[in-house]
Symmetry: C2
Subunit: 347 residues, 2 copies
């Protein structure tokens, strides 16, 4: 099996997450035989980097998926809905970073450190959860296994890279404009983001929650396998370029001391504990940027409930929150020999 | 009584809050006969603005308090501990913005919209609560009166002006340095604050909480008069120049709908409701800066508990969170004729 190599297509290759997928494929030395960069007609002909090579961007067509083993998609829900069923029908394993299929019963919603067993159920399509969900469940899974989560109250501090390159450019341009007393535009975020925080990511439902917030509820329940888990989310954009931070208060069914939580997290896959507050050691967004782990700190007892913990987790939303998790799903599929049609391209 | 005018001294007049106290005294047309700007020896001789006048800064001495009716102090706990007992002994009503006396049983901890009745207990000393506490209790008091708060989970997004002018300068200097690829210093905050968030304000205790966080617990209990109230706090510094934001999940003993909460808040003193998410109306730090109100929005049901609400409040930490609240305490003392010794300076 270690000799198999795979034809991989990245759909949405010119976006912030698509580019990161190419970077992570290369960094993790994913066994590729070919890599295709697919995007919309208007990006066709551009080029994107893959390791020290340059890939020409191809317009996505049905035929572009012929012979492809694995599709990593991050081009938005509409594009995923249009093209991934076609790709899956042509034998590709599609790993989708959009929200299009996440809540479908026949589509695994996968974080390899948390619910790897769900991969066996795939029918050619696997969903990558939302960035803020991924880092939260990686941090909570070992605690949930030990003490059983009853309720979560989470407030996020989400970076502008969650809104893609345009989001990062807007923060940068607004900041420069403010220092030069020049006018600036507000296009990507729902208000000026420079030197501000905005309690609004996505669109509001009629109960006053955003879809970004409800993803934290529904996706966490699906991944942790508890449809009754109580979750109270607030999602907030902050003027940080990369990496989301989360303040999480957790109520458990059973006792869990901070020392136990720390031990469990220290041996948890994908987690790096940074927790020595007296020495000013706790996770920071600027340190987590461009890294693959979920960093956890400020682990302490929540004295306001019988069995509670509070913690602070930080992770790069373009890496573990998107590209890294997608590539790890592909790695898991390879390891379990669950890439459909992989045999045909055996080296 | 409306003819009485008062001799007011601002102790710590050259600091960010001290300057704001002078601004608010002037804006609110507090009935002053004289205003003295007091500070440490090293600031003596400087001048600070008061309306369109300029006040010469005097070094604080015991004699400086002679004949003064009201002292507004914001020079840190050590200075307050040293000088306010002396001032109070000389007949001054001291309103202290430091944490020095806040938890003392014989010192009222006062937010005029919330617990005005506590002022009658003063013995020459009244404490101004911490910034993050003030805005939270102003928003929660009308809800508490109606449905009785059992538990609060609060995560803050606190501006750098909470660290004074030095904090604002550091954010500014680091931001400029980053854009110019120049080195920068880290002195005021516990790490780079530009384009970062830092889950650390103040000093840590041996349970892993900061003193800033525990102020939210102890001060809220004292002000709302419920020593058993459950509060789970996380305090975070964000790269915002002015105004703190707070994400608050509240559990009540009795039912409270979002519509009821909105109505209660709309008629609450000191509160401005900004809550029309479909129209992108919610409180923002940049809008709250230099205003006196507590702005509340994102009011919604917390579906994770039987009786719960979630909301987002924003207020300028130098104004309502410090200077405005202190001047309002002085106004209340005047209105109730509780300024000791005021009679001697009757005009």
């Amino acid at each position: 099996m270690q000799n198999k190599r795979y034809k991989v297509a990245v759909l949405g290759a010119t976006g912030a997450v698509g580019r990161e997928m190419l970077t992570v494929l290369d960094e993790m030395r994913f066994p590729v035989s070919e890599v295709y960069a697919l995007a919309s007609e208007k990006s066709a002909g551009d080029s994107v980097p893959f390791g020290n090579r340059s890939l020409k961007v191809l317009a996505v067509t049905a035929e572009a998926f012929d012979g492809v083993d694995i599709v990593l998609a991050s081009a938005g829900s509409a594009v995923s809905k249009q093209w991934l069923p076609i790709a899956a029908a042509r034998g590709c394993l599609c790993i989708d970073n959009s929200s299009a299929f996440r809540m479908r019963d026949d589509v695994p919603l996968l974080v390899p450190e948390v619910n790897p067993e769900a991969i066996s159920l795939h029918n050619g399509l696997i969903s990558n959860p939302n960035c803020s969900t991924i880092q939260m469940v990686v941090a909570l899974k070992p605690l949930h296994d030990h003490a059983q989560i009853k309720r979560i109250v989470v407030s996020t501090y989400q970076s502008v890279s969650g809104a893609g390159k345009k989001g990062m450019d807007e923060l940068s341009n607004q900041t420069i404009a403010l220092f030069n007393q020049k006018p600036f535009e507000i296009q990507v975020h729902n208000g000026r983001i420079a030197f501000n925080v905005i309690p609004h990511i996505g669109t509001f439902d009629n109960t006053g929650y955003t879809d970004e917030e409800m993803k934290l509820v529904h996706e966490t329940r699906k991944i942790l396998g508890d449809a009754e888990m109580k979750i109270c989310p607030t999602c907030v954009r902050v003027p940080v370029f990369a990496a989301h931070s989360e303040s999480i208060a957790i109520e458990f069914a059973r006792p869990l001391t901070p020392a136990q939580a720390r031990l469990l997290l220290e041996s948890a896959p994908g987690v790096v504990v940074q927790d020595d507050p007296q020495e000013k050691v706790y996770p920071l967004a600027i340190d987590a940027a461009e890294k693959d782990a979920v960093f956890v700190g400020r682990i302490r007892q929540d004295f306001s409930v019988p069995h509670g913990s509070v913690l602070w987790d930080v992770s790069d939303n373009l890496r573990k929150g998107a590209a890294t998790n997608a590539v790890q799903i592909a790695q898991l599929a390879v390891a379990r020999d669950l890439v459909h049609g992989a045999a045909v391209v055996q080296a």
